[in-house]
Symmetry: C2
Subunit: 416 residues, 2 copies
């Protein structure tokens, strides 16, 4: 069977399965998720073996250190994945919820949340996305077709084996979760062309992947997560706070989308702050690529190129720029940002307000780390991704993002 | 200046204007809308003269009767448009509304509604869309770039002249509302390519227009309004109700998207209902195109082709089919429908429930006319279109549909 055909068959199975899972009760869906958690824990050994194969080929292919961390699965991470399944069980199911009202014309309207139908996911290295996505889709009565990256294919196959077993044990159609086993560009393109079978496509990964989906997909796309995030240290910043936030936002997990890639510093505090920053970043072996002015203050750092300011490094690398004003910082950020998360450190509330109002990103922080942009940290429970587009939902996407609405209208012969 | 350039310049002006209108107070925006209403009434004479030019060329080009009705502007319709501006003034502005919560991590989140930015509209004959769209966009702090149809170009220019005058009188940037004067396909394509300048594209019109936007646009699209709507008369229907609903849904305004295009009748009531239906439809000169079985009951009607069941006639034409069961009716509708509005007439509540649950359309009616699918009839105030897609918003789109959200997060050095 060729690749386009494999994808079409999986999507058709998902479409068929979507009709029955859409009508399943919350209780039945929760039992399914709990059973998936149990089976993942039971099958930990075979999952970790499969993951070792993936890690070995990734290392062979010279994959970056931060990326290897994203790919790795061990006992404690499986425990974490199972815990996140239980946390999805604990979340309220939005399906069927809604409101009712009547109109003078004689009609009564019920607006109810319904599943989107079939969700397509295209993602890269992190295999936990496989389970997290399936859990959120199933909880909201959606079927899902997964197309993960080649780096994690063995791990993903093991995960989906447990999920399908749980589906079947709990009386669901196994087609509700499909994994595309081909990880070529052709299989991604095939999934993007499944208009009529797939209701929404959610890409998770780097800028290139997101752009390819946005530009080529015939299926509606939710743009997610490309995160060229910025930290701006204002002239009135508390430099100790600034340092703590910079280190957290860059070094606590550099491979994720809410980590910062560029630090901008007001010229008035640059002489003092830059050496503090370099000394802290040296402790994490962060490579600093600075503008010409910052290279004069910090001897021996690399000169940043235009491209460095455009890049989501996802690694222990940071771009550094000195700016003359808040305006210059805002302009720089609105030019280079992917619209994800940006932070200002300042004790001047006027500057804070202007920064929050004029920066057009999902989350705009004052005196806090960009690392908080996350469904769990925001209090939404699990997330299927972070939308950086303006339509449908913006920011961390929980269960609600996987639903749409429908109007059920009744009358007794009402006409307009 | 070539067409692509004209479009780019208008979009750049809109983008610039969007920054200031986004920050305007509700009061200031309401004054603007009221002033537009006043100016339209003052300029009624020149608007109607321009509209006469449009009507004359449309008639010359053999435009269908129902379409001429959509195009026509007279004093009472200008009064109606002014009234709808005042009704937008009366609606609550969603901008800046939202909620606030804190997290144990030490951050406080404010989630606020913000404008989308720049809205692109591509639409066909109805010139009132020009004013309605501008009003809804301006009220929500958005700029808008309008690309109407060639049939209404003179009327649209007059409308936009009044709008720009009001913008300038009220201290706004005139670029906030732009009208593309070229009505070629090239200008539509240029607007679809303005990614980065235009935040969302809302096409309003026939199936061909919508499909062209969905397939070609690089800007996110909200699919609207193509309405191949159905009425199903169940075996347990009250036939008087069915007749009243059929006549209302087909004949009260056949050119609009929530009018029905196909009537399906259960075989058990066909012998009795079809002659009633024909006699009522004859009073409105509705041409009936029936399936083979209905042609045996109603002598002299035209035999329907497959294409007739796929067609949104927007005219005094209806397709008619006899079905053997509720299942067959549901299957037919899910196959041919554009997902807009469908109705069942039945006294059997089990059939009603099944119909509402299994039909995957925006609005599913029991014993009521599909003509109710409308922002005003649903109680939302004005609407900018009826979304037939599942993402962002489904059904009649009011002010809320023209906004997105943003998270403003504050801490005091909070890190994760």
């Amino acid at each position: 069977m060729d690749i386009a055909n494999e994808v079409r068959v999986l999507c058709e199975s998902a479409k068929r399965a979507s009709h029955s899972i859409a009508l399943a009760s919350e209780d039945k869906k929760n039992k399914l998720l709990s059973r998936i958690a149990e089976l993942l824990l039971e099958n930990a050994e075979s999952i970790i073996s499969a993951n070792k194969l993936d890690l070995a080929s990734a290392e062979e292919n010279g994959v970056a250190k931060a990326m290897l961390d994203r790919l790795m699965i061990n006992d404690s991470r499986i425990k974490g994945i199972a815990d996140s399944l239980y946390s999805v069980v604990a979340l309220d199911d939005p399906i069927g919820k809604g409101d009712v009202w009547s109109r003078p014309s004689g009609i009564t309207l019920r607006r109810v949340r319904v599943p989107l139908g079939v969700v397509g996911m295209i993602y890269e290295a992190r295999p936990n996305v496989t389970v997290d996505s399936a859990a959120l889709c199933l909880k909201t009565g959606n079927a899902v077709v997964l197309r993960g990256g080649k780096e994690a294919i063995n791990t993903n196959k093991e995960f989906v084996r447990s999920i399908k077993l749980a589906l079947s044990e709990c009386g669901f159609d196994e087609g509700a979760v499909g994994l595309i086993t081909s990880t070529s560009r052709e299989s991604a393109n095939a999934l993007m062309s499944m208009r009529g079978l797939v209701d929404v496509l959610i890409p998770r990964g780097g800028k290139g992947l997101i752009r390819a989906c946005v530009e080529n997909s015939k299926v509606p796309v939710i743009e997610t997560g490309a995160g060229n995030c910025h930290l701006y240290v204002d002239e009135s910043a508390d430099l100790e706070k600034a340092l703590k936030i910079a280190v957290n936002a860059k070094c606590s997990r550099p491979s994720v989308c809410n980590a910062i890639e560029t630090v901008l510093v007001h010229r008035a505090v640059a002489e003092k702050f830059l050496p503090m920053l370099k000394s802290a970043f040296d402790g994490y072996s962060v490579e600093i690529r600075g503008c010409a002015d910052s290279c004069e203050i910090l001897e021996g750092i690399k000169l940043a190129t235009e491209e460095d300011f455009e890049t989501e490094f996802d690694d222990y690398i940071v771009a550094l720029g000195i700016v003359d004003s808040l305006d210059e910082a805002i302009e720089h950020i609105n030019k280079y940002s992917t619209g994800h998360s940006e932070a200002i450190v300042t004790e001047n509330m006027k500057s804070a307000d202007r920064f929050q109002n004029e920066i057009d990103s999902v989350a705009v922080y004052v005196n806090a780390s960009t690392r908080f942009t996350d469904g769990g940290e925001f209090g939404f429970g699990a997330e299927i991704g972070i939308s950086t587009q303006k339509l449908h939902v913006r920011g961390p996407m929980g269960l609600y993002a996987l639903t749409t609405e429908k109007y059920l209208v009744t009358g007794d012969g009402a006409v307009r």
